[in-house]
């Protein structure tokens, strides 16, 4: 009996050690671990399939990196999250790499009959937005403030943890409307209709990218950041609907 226990224990140990990353060997071929805002899901994973990605709300990623997550690169949908980590010396100096704009999406069937942002105020509607700490949630609140529509916040039925969760709830028809980035509406364009938000009400959206300080692949991580800033990387972002780097922040 005891021998069998020992055998099982030994097998478990061997299995566990084989799962752990093999240090040293093949460092060159190791994929980078890239923590990126959920809105970058499609564009990053098709731009460079060789890397490992963790897509989520930038605020969640910030917390994970703060708690020692093994990321090499952090791409955030708002400067706040990268700058806070930079001040804590947990990432190298962040750079702006792209921009975006907000839209309102409704299910194709449009059950609440929403045809303009102002309809949110006039009609009963189940509105879904992201939480205030999530970049897109912050941008959403800015838009509503600029348009004098903060009372609409009382019609919010769910505060989601990232933009993809908002998109999903609307695309499924579970919610009547939701604020997302223009780039998130694209992959679900057969399921949703897009309502534009006027330019004067758009928030200043800046995506920042930084190399994580405790990365063990810093050279490769810096090279990857350069690749995103290169004409090829910028072209991929623009083709996905992202906007060029705002002039003021160059």
């Amino acid at each position: 009996m005891r021998n069998r226990f020992a055998a099982v224990f030994a097998i478990a140990l061997v299995a566990a050690s084989s799962l752990a990353p093999s240090a040293g060997a093949h460092r060159q071929a190791d994929p980078l671990t890239i923590y990126a805002a959920a809105s970058l899901t499609e564009v990053f994973s098709s731009f460079d399939r060789a890397q490992r990605y963790n897509f989520a709300g930038s605020n969640a990623l910030e917390t994970q990196i703060r708690n020692g997550a093994p990321a090499d690169v952090f791409a955030s949908a708002a400067p706040l999250n990268t700058q806070r980590l930079f001040q804590a010396r947990m990432v190298e100096k962040p750079v702006t790499f792209t921009s975006n704009r907000l839209v309102l999406i409704v299910p194709r069937s449009n059950p609440a009959g929403i045809h303009s942002v102002y309809d949110l105020k006039r009609k009963p509607v189940k509105l879904v937005i992201a939480g205030a700490a999530v970049p897109v949630g912050g941008y959403t609140r800015t838009v509503l403030r600029k348009m004098g529509l903060t009372s609409v916040l009382s019609k919010v039925v769910s505060q989601e943890s990232d933009v993809k969760a908002v998109t999903g709830k609307v695309a499924l028809g579970q919610a009547d409307a939701g604020f997302v980035y223009a780039t998130d509406a694209r992959p679900v364009r057969t399921q949703v209709s897009v309502i534009r938000i006027p330019a004067w009400a758009q928030p200043r959206i800046r995506y920042e990218i930084a190399v994580v300080s405790r990365s063990s692949h810093k050279a490769a991580a810096r090279a990857w950041v350069k690749k995103i800033l290169s004409p090829r990387g910028q072209r991929a972002l623009r083709n996905a609907g992202f906007l060029p780097i705002p002039k003021a922040s160059r």
């Binding site: 005891r2 226990f5 020992a6 224990f9 709300g57 605020n59 969640a60 910030e62 917390t63 299910p107 069937s109 059950p111 189940k126 879904v128 939480g131 700490a133 919010v156 039925v157 769910s158 505060q159 989601e160 943890s161 709830k169 499924l172 028809g173 579970q174 919610a175």
Partner: protein, 268 residues
């Protein structure tokens, strides 16, 4: 060797639980529990789980009784169906509830027509909790009914008691220890429900944001609040588990109750 492996296993299991209480002073945890996010989540969780438990007991008890009186293929099929939510990943439960009861789901239109609004309401939370927690009750309840000495209901019947009377006056009192244990297990599972709820009911403070969802949200908003709610759930779950142990010991005299197929529960 046995002692060492047991020690390692115990340490591994206990460390994360202890760590929750050690990260910040206890006074910080208590004051974080007073935050509006935590208080709202406590209220939402209490309301939804109370309703879910009523549904589980009212529908689950007769179902368990029926199952316990059957043998053969029909029983196996029914038991399997009842057990499915137990082993399904919560994400699957969430998807299933969405495509069944969601506004664009199978019954979405019917439910809407009845004037019941499920989407993003407490009703959605209650459905999610009931779906994932009910198997814990039904399984244990089936075992509890089967553990009743079959000569007792038979005797009651020969003395002229109808099926209703046998159920309420004989079976329920005799099985109540197991039923209580099952209810406690379902309650503990319902308390921790996360995946199906966040997919199906969404998350809004004071409406659908249960304790588990509040931990997830507060994780990167105010970590202390997330810790405090975690600590609360650990304490409540421990109390529930302990009371299950006491209940089963009290009523059957046997040792601890472990979730297992009714037929494999043998006494030596």
């Amino acid at each position: 060797m046995l002692v060492v492996t047991t020690g390692v296993a115990l340490l591994f299991l206990v460390l994360p639980i202890v760590a929750v209480f050690l990260r910040v002073p206890l006074s910080d945890l208590l004051s974080a529990l007073g935050s509006s996010a935590a208080l709202d989540a406590i209220r939402v969780t209490a309301e939804t789980i109370a309703f879910a438990m009523v549904l589980i007991l009212v529908f689950g008890t007769p179902a368990a009784y029926w199952i316990s009186s059957r043998r053969g293929a029909v029983r196996d099929v029914v038991v399997t169906l009842v057990e499915l939510p137990l082993v399904l990943p919560p994400a699957v439960a969430g998807i299933g509830l969405l495509v069944a009861f969601g506004r664009a789901g199978l019954l979405g239109g019917t439910v809407d027509a009845l004037g019941i609004d499920i989407a993003f309401t407490k009703v959605a939370v209650i459905l999610a909790v009931t779906f994932v927690a009910s198997p814990f009750f039904v399984r244990t309840a089936v075992a509890a009914f089967e553990a009743v000495d079959p000569t007792l209901p038979a005797a009651a019947r020969t003395l002229g008691a109808g099926p209703g009377r046998v159920f309420f006056r004989v079976m329920l009192p005799l099985a109540k220890g197991g039923l209580g244990a099952g209810a406690a297990l379902a309650f503990a599972r319902g308390l921790g429900e996360f995946g199906a709820t966040i997919m199906f009911a969404g998350s809004l403070q004071g409406v659908t944001q249960t304790l588990s969802l509040a931990i997830y949200e507060q994780f990167d908003v105010d970590f202390n609040v997330a810790l405090a709610i975690s600590a609360l759930l650990i304490v409540v779950s421990a109390v529930v588990l302990l009371s299950v142990k006491l209940m089963t010991r009290w009523h059957s005299g046997s040792g601890s109750l472990i979730l297992s197929a009714p037929s494999s529960r043998q006494r030596n």
